[in-house]
């Protein structure tokens, strides 16, 4: 297999992995908001503003992203040495990669959590509190 072809393949798989990660985070956050609908209603009844609720959901996403990125970084430090023969013009522990990839992932993760967070702010407390 030519190195050009394997490069394209690896690149597209990486892109696919990124898209899946974004979809996954969106799904998880969406689910979390649905699970917490009643809690959100209670918090609104206790005086939470829309901004408070928004922050509550985004804070969870940031925590989740933090843990995910930390695990990913540890993996990325150890695993690429088995791949190093495939790497071209980039080291197995290139600092540039170690900064930019987590930053891109964090940005995508945050963006994926904004929609569920917005949805959380529009929870009707009257309906949420009636749920048992």
């Amino acid at each position: 297999m030519s190195s050009r072809l394997s490069g394209i393949l690896l690149g597209s798989f990486a892109g696919l992995a990124l898209a899946l990660a974004a979809a996954g985070i969106y799904g998880v956050m969406s689910y979390a908001v649905t699970q917490r609908t009643q809690e959100i209603g209670i918090r609104v009844a206790l005086g939470a503003s829309r901004a408070n609720i928004f922050r509550l959901v985004v804070r969870d996403a940031v925590l989740l992203l933090g843990v995910g990125i930390a695990i990913g970084l540890v993996g990325a430090l150890y695993l690429p040495r088995f791949l190093s023969t495939q790497l071209f013009q980039v080291g197995a522990t290139d600092p540039m990669i170690f900064v930019s990839v987590p930053a891109i992932l964090a940005a995508i993760g945050l963006a994926a959590s904004l929609l569920p967070a917005r949805r959380a702010t529009s929870v009707d407390p009257v309906v949420a509190l009636r749920m048992e």
Binding site: Q38, R43, L46, L129
Partner: protein
């Protein structure tokens, strides 16, 4: 004449249905003075809880005029209503509505955190309230480790911790057995004696007897106002 706490004029709430409009509340006029203990009664579906949600500013989809301490709630946006609500109003619900994954202490802290009370002051206010309600020993427990009566006690404490002018209670003893229910009602009575205005929704004549007057609702209309019948000694359930 002293300032009214609540003045409702021609409050209406309706849902659009295929055949036109379905009214949950119709031309409701209610005045509440500071320091009153008011009971809202009526059959299921009469609009009691809806009226409580409107008074508590959780429900903003209604027409009419609502003045709270002379401030026009009907002209306010969500943010302004939220400010008023978190400053003056505490809620108590039938099913307690404590947050399951937070301890008693953390549950009591929530309303204060939304009022931007600094952390150190929050801790001392929560400690005061734990002491006042005799639940210091329970502060690190989670709601599911408490009995129903204890959970409702914590829920009342949570409503009281930010010193509200008004407490709204929606069937607060509905899930409790009679002894626990009575304790909660006596607690409300003491809070009322200390100056807090209380509006409760209940089906129980006995609970209504703790209040000053009863607003009777039916099919969304206020049909009349009555005085509670004095509680008979010891007979009948508390719900």
């Amino acid at each position: 004449m002293p300032e009214l706490l609540i003045q409702l004029r021609s409050i209406e709430k309706a849902y659009d249905v295929a055949a036109g409009k379905f009214f949950v509340l119709r031309r409701v006029n209610v005045d509440v003075q500071p320091g009153e203990f008011v009971t809202i009664m009526g059959p299921s579906g009469a609009g009691k809880s809806t009226l409580l949600s409107i008074i508590g500013m959780l429900d903003g989809a209604w027409t009419g005029e609502y003045h709270f301490l002379d401030q026009p709630v009907h002209k306010m946006n969500v943010k302004q209503r939220n400010e008023l609500h978190k400053r003056y109003i505490g809620f108590v619900f039938q099913s307690y509505h404590l947050i399951d994954n937070l301890t008693v202490f953390e549950n009591l802290e929530i309303p204060l955190s939304y009022k931007n009370v600094p952390r150190s002051e929050r801790v001392s206010l929560v400690c005061d309230i734990l002491d006042r309600f005799n639940i210091v020993g329970k502060k690190d427990l989670y709601p599911n480790q408490l009995s129903g009566g204890q959970q409702q006690l914590v829920a009342v404490a949570r409503a009281v911790v930010m010193s509200p002018r008004l407490i709204l209670a929606d069937e607060p003893t509905g899930n409790l057995h009679s002894g626990q229910g009575e304790e909660i009602m006596q607690l409300f009575k003491r809070l009322n004696d200390a100056g807090t205005t209380i509006i409760q929704v209940t089906h129980s004549e006995r609970n209504a007897a703790y209040g000053d007057r009863i607003i009777n609702l039916k099919d969304g209309w206020v049909i009349d106002e009555t005085r509670p019948v004095a509680a008979s000694s010891g007979s009948g359930p508390a719900r």
